[in-house]
């Protein structure tokens, strides 16, 4: 009862003190709110950017999980293949993973020499099952000329815009693929360009081609064999658990199971650097916020030496004085925090709906985002709560020194203070 009474009266004094010097409290609150809003914006924007990058990698290249022969990705070689891919796919669906798996597709991958009548270039050939691939990849949406691949063994090929330019070929032109089959023999096939795609990612547009799965299997000397099985999950959050589950169920087959993080380590590194950057900015903003609060609370304490002395004379204890000052800082942070969160949420709402086109500022942005250079912010509770928690923590920490200073005042000295 006593504690509740004490906190009640201390809170009352603290709140009224916050509004006592309205201009000072407004300026400090505005600085805190602005700092918080910036951090919420940065978190939302960064999360959105990262999510788009991940989505780009997952939906254009890797899927969430890939199953392959051991060390296939270290050296892509037709001699490394999965013998009975359909049984593995059956296993995936029978392992109670169906609710978590959105789609599964097979790919054949090999390096090849691609020649037109004028030029030739090295490229990564990806054999896909057009219908299944549509469930996993957004490749079809990137076609800027012509159409998507047809099923079965059609002698057609999708080629990147940049590669087409390098080979001086266009829609309907014929090009020849030459590669080494799994048994060491040379496999070759003439294919007609059915579509030209532009992903916005230079590496893909310059050096990747897509052909029907059956065609790729024949060139590589396969029957039903494939290079990789690509799994797309319903949600990215399932990645770790499904990875563990697949590793367990497929461990006896000697296959390698890799996540997109293993397959695109540079992307993981970029995301990590982005996060570190956010923490650095967070640190700078909070240092500024902390100095603002420290200044405000110190001034507030210095101005009220005599008043604090009177309260102590009446019988308030040191720790109650400390609590009073901390509560003052807490309420200041609560007001500023509410405003900052409202502004930050407004910013996230707007940018998640309309996005921000970065292409005018950075020509290289497509390297990370693909063809869609508009970045959309992403709302996460973490993105709001962590900065908010930081604001409250910093407010309390910054107010500790003035609070302890107030509590250590000698009453006699304060009463002489005018």
């Amino acid at each position: 009862m006593n504690i509740i009474n004490t906190i009640g009266i201390l809170s009352k004094i603290a709140i009224r003190n916050v509004f006592r010097n309205k201009r000072r409290s407004f300026i400090t609150s505005a600085a805190i709110a602005f700092g918080l809003a910036i951090l919420i914006h940065l978190n939302g924007f960064n999360d959105g950017f990262n999510e788009q990058m991940i989505n780009n990698v997952v939906r254009l290249q890797t899927g969430h999980i890939q199953i392959s022969e051991a060390e296939f990705h270290q050296e892509i070689d037709t001699a490394k293949f999965i013998s009975e891919p359909d049984r593995i796919i059956e296993d995936i669906y029978s392992a109670n993973l169906t609710p978590y798996v959105k789609a599964v597709t097979k790919r054949v991958m090999f390096q090849a020499l691609i020649s037109s009548t004028r030029n030739s270039a090295g490229a990564m050939v990806v054999g896909i099952s057009p219908k299944e691939e549509r469930q996993v990849s957004v490749l079809e949406r990137t076609i800027v000329k012509g159409g998507y691949l047809k099923e079965a063994d059609s002698p057609s090929i999708l080629i990147g815009e940049r590669l087409a330019k390098n080979l001086s070929v266009d829609l309907g032109d014929k090009i020849v693929l030459l590669t080494q089959a799994y048994d060491g023999s040379m496999g070759a096939r003439a294919l007609r360009i059915r579509g030209i795609f532009r992903t916005g990612i230079p590496e893909i547009d310059r050096s990747t081609v897509y052909i029907p799965l059956n065609t790729a299997q024949k060139i590589a000397g396969y029957e039903s064999e494939v290079s990789v099985i690509v799994v797309l999950l319903q949600k990215s959050q399932y990645l770790e658990s499904i990875y563990r589950s697949l590793s367990l169920s497929l461990k006896d087959r000697g296959l390698e199971i890799l996540t997109w993080k293993d397959l695109a380590p540079d992307m993981v590194e970029i995301i990590r650097i982005n996060k570190v950057n956010i923490y650095i900015v967070m640190g700078i903003v909070f240092t500024l916020v902390a100095m603002g609060i420290l200044n405000t609370m110190l001034m507030s304490v210095f101005e009220r030496f005599r008043e604090i002395g009177i309260i102590m004379t009446i019988g308030m204890r040191d720790r109650q004085i400390v609590l009073m000052i901390l509560l003052e800082s807490f309420f200041l942070a609560a007001i500023a925090g509410s405003i900052g969160v409202i502004i930050g949420l407004g910013d996230i709402w707007y940018l998640s709906k309309y996005g921000f086109d970065f292409s005018q500022f950075s020509h290289g942005i497509g390297r990370f985002l693909g063809i869609n250079t508009i970045i959309y912010s992403m709302f996460t509770w973490k993105g709001i709560l962590i900065p908010l928690l930081f604001v409250f923590s910093i407010s309390i920490i910054a107010a500790l020194y003035p609070a302890l200073k107030a509590a250590r005042l000698e009453i006699v000295d304060t009463l002489r203070h005018i």
Binding site: N2, I310, I314
Partner: protein
Amino acid sequence: MAIVRLDKVSKVYGKNKLKVHAVTDVSFEVQEGEFLAIVGPSGSGKTTLLNLIGGIDRPSKGKVYIEDQDITLLSKARRSDLRLKRIGFIFQEYNLIPVLTAVENIELGLLLLGIDKAERRERVNKIIKDVGILELANRRPKEMSGGQQQRVAVARAMVTKPAVILADEPTANLDSNTGISILRLMQEMNHRENITFIFSTHDPMVMEMASRVIILRDGRIESEEKRD
């Protein structure tokens, strides 16, 4: 039992050549219900003496007892408790908390004591009637005159039912009529509630109303006289 007892109390401020002997070898007792005035010119040590009795300063030498308890040995926290429970303060400058209303200023000590809401309300209602500030209950200090603020300060000092109230020149900032009314109020409370009052003053009118007067000069008791 003496409510207050000072035993050869001295207080020295500063060090070496800058030493100031504010109070030297002062001893006296104050009995329950006394209305004691400590008088003397500026710098005679009146405020220092009240600070020592109130436990907001420690003597350099000697002992101060409140209800037979040696307060010079108490920790800072224990002295805070003692002031909260057994000592009331009235200041020359009123010293109300500016962000609290009259009622909230009066109630502050009761809240710190952990007294329940019903009793707090009863005590506050009684005291604001007794000191004649019923209509000022919800005003903040800046909305009151000096005399009104001092009445609130008297109510604040009394509401916790302390053993002794220390008043440091309570009428010095008031005009003579208001000063007299405040003194009469304190005297009335002294008679009615039997609360011991010790106040410092150099106002002759205040001395007239005291039951005993201690005259200080240069930090020493020069004389003492009892009034009827």
